[in-house]
């Protein structure tokens, strides 16, 4: 299917949101709070953050919430009644970046292989991605090194590119994107010949992915390398929580005397508890082993098992790290090692 090009006036966004909401769409849009930007449900008076390079938290919570009820149960004497979750509402995620849009395929690869996860699928199928390409990038960005780009259309249903004129160039990429346009057709105008490239950020390729992937399996047994790279790691897991492609999760119960809920919550392979056996034995007892797992999972195991990288190069993990660990630098070190 070819990509349709339209023009969307920037000041018609509030009307677009109102019309989508009127048609029953929940809108998740960037919202700034105390210096952090994350995706929140847009209320009628809600402000959409404008000047963010990258949101602090990724939009993965639209389909994989930080904490999610898998089912509920109630206690009735000795009996237990289990109850399915209600169907998710149709959702539009607005203002995510092309790297974020690409990450949904990574999440889908995990949740769909072998046993299809219906809870995830039901949300993904009802989620449309209305992304905005990047006019700026910073030193942490490396989308172009992992197959993406500041104007990459993969994963998005509609990709907007801000033109100098204050208009967006709208690329309508998928059927789901065309459905969105149909909900507010008068706002999407015919566009002259596009030229979005000149409005995009420059993100140079920073390492050779092929080289990195050839070297990774060979450096598994290099304790010194992993120790040096992870010496400053606090094991706080912030990198995994901001990552748009980290999928590892925990299952926990929350209950009182009447009943409770079984929850799926984000987890991180950086936590020592992640692999701790009941016996006290821990197969990855060192932080360096956990750092190695994080890197190899994303760049070696993911491609081997699910034919996708587990990283989209958004740079969030390095921006958030309180100990200033830089994933990009560590990847470069491995890729460039002789």
């Amino acid at each position: 299917m070819t990509i349709e090009i339209k023009r969307l006036k920037k000041d018609s966004l509030p009307r677009l949101f109102a019309q989508l909401q009127a048609k029953g769409r929940r809108i998740l849009a960037p919202h700034s709070r105390a210096g952090k930007t994350g995706f929140e449900e847009l209320s009628s008076s809600g402000q959409v953050a404008q000047d963010y390079l990258q949101t602090t938290l990724s939009p993965k919570s639209a389909v994989f919430p930080r904490c999610e009820a898998l089912f509920r149960y109630t206690f009735e004497g000795k009996e237990i009644k289990m109850e399915e979750k209600p169907e998710p509402a149709p959702t539009v995620v607005f203002g995510l970046r092309p790297c974020d849009a690409a990450s949904f395929a990574v999440l889908n690869a995990v949740f769909s292989w072998d046993y299809p996860d219906a809870l995830f699928k039901s949300k993904l199928e009802k989620t449309a991605l209305l992304s905005i390409s990047c006019r700026q990038a910073d030193d942490y960005c490396f989308c172009t090194s992992v197959g993406g780009g500041p104007g990459d259309t993969r994963g998005s249903d509609i990709l907007l590119t801000e033109m100098g004129s204050g208009d967006y160039l709208a690329e309508i990429i998928t059927d789901r994107g065309r459905e969105l346009v149909q909900l507010a057709p008068e706002l999407f105008q015919e566009a002259p010949a596009p030229g979005k490239e000149k409005h995009l950020a420059q993100v140079p390729v920073k390492f050779d992915l092929k080289q990195l992937q050839e070297k990774l399996p060979k450096v598994f047994d290099s304790p010194q390398l992993w120790l040096e790279q992870s010496l400053r790691c606090l094991g706080c897991g912030a990198c995994a929580f901001v990552c748009p492609a980290c999928v590892c999760f925990d299952l926990q119960d929350e209950a009182n005397r009447q009943g409770g809920v079984r929850l799926r919550c984000w987890d991180s392979c950086g936590f020592s508890l992640f692999t701790l056996h009941a016996s006290g034995h821990n197969p990855r007892s060192l932080q360096s082993q956990r750092w190695r797992q994080r890197l190899l999972h994303k760049f070696s195991y993911f491609p081997d098992r699910l034919q996708t990288l587990g990283c989209v190069g958004c740079g969030r993990c390095s921006r958030i790290c309180p100990a200033d660990m830089n994933l990009l630098e560590h990847l470069k070190t491995i890729a460039e090692a002789s």
Binding site: F71, F75, W113, D114, A118, R262, A278, Q293, Y301, D304
Partner: protein
């Protein structure tokens, strides 16, 4: 939702609780929904997620044999939050079960073979499933030998079955306890499992060895098996790693790129030799 919710467990009623050893119990579980019970199938080696509503889930093997229909058994030691809650349950109480998950011991490829079971302590339950499966199809296999050891007599699980197996003419059962773990009336061997195995010196020809036990027992038993001539592809074990989903998604049980919950828990030594030491 048209597809089933993967995380929704079967409701199981506790039919029987058998104390096995200090802090170790076996639960016999029946499906609350008869239809679910009739449709439920599993094979030797598979595991499940057992849950106490309000506390969470725990991973154990299915310790009963697939040849015994209509119920499941699990044997566990009380060590954490969920296992403590499970241990406090009474007959008639409801718990959750998700499964069966994971791969299986390829019993159907083992017709005409000798089976040598080597287990230590609380690791007999995964092999007990295979043992009863093989005993229920006894004429499909040649010699069946079981070597089972524990730290002390009190720590031996399934004592009533050990007695039964010991009386059967078609099984060779050797039980042992670590030196100092014997009681005055102990009639079995005294010694560590690898030492007793060396003395027993079973023939490796046409024989499969199934080894399950604490890491130190496995570590010291494998060289003895190698010395006796067992090839790595004829030595089987089950791995356990911390697990949450059992579905190859949550990431907890990964050993390199291998999911213990999907690609295992049953592995041959030949396969383990290619895995990084993350289990």
């Amino acid at each position: 939702m048209t597809e089933p919710n993967l995380y929704m467990p079967y409701l199981m009623r506790i039919e029987k609780i058998t104390p096995e050893a200090p802090l170790v119990n076996t639960l016999k579980l029946a499906f609350v929904n008869d239809e679910e019970g009739k449709n439920f199938q599993f094979r030797a080696g598979q595991f499940g997620e057992y849950s106490v509503f309000g506390e969470g889930e725990s991973t154990f093997c299915i310790a009963s044999s697939p040849t015994r229909k209509g119920y499941l058994e699990c044997t566990f030691r009380q060590v954490g939050k969920v296992t403590t809650a499970l241990a406090n349950k009474e007959v008639g109480d409801l718990i959750g079960f998700r499964g069966p998950y994971g791969n299986t011991f390829p019993l159907d490829q083992w017709r005409g073979k000798n089976l040598l079971f080597i287990a230590g302590g609380i690791a007999l339950p995964p092999l007990r499933c295979v043992i009863w499966n093989a005993l229920d199809l006894r004429d499909q296999f040649q010699d069946i030998t079981i070597l089972y050891g524990a730290r002390a007599v009190a720590d031996l699980v399934y004592k009533y079955e050990l007695e039964e197996w010991g009386k059967r003419k078609d099984i060779k059962l050797i039980t042992t306890v670590d030196p100092g773990g014997e009681t005055p009336d102990w009639k079995g061997e005294i010694g560590f499992v690898p030492t007793v195995l060396e003395k027993l010196a079973p023939a490796c020809q046409n024989t499969l060895a199934l080894v399950c036990g604490p890491p130190i027992m496995i570590k010291l038993t494998l060289p003895v098996l190698a010395k006796l001539g067992f090839q790595p592809e004829n030595i089987f074990t089950t791995l356990e790693n911390r697990m949450k989903c059992g579905l190859g998604k949550c990431g907890h049980c990964m050993v390199g790129k291998v999911f213990v919950c999907k690609d295992g828990p049953v592995f041959t030594l030949a396969q383990l030799n290619h895995l990084p030491p993350e289990y």
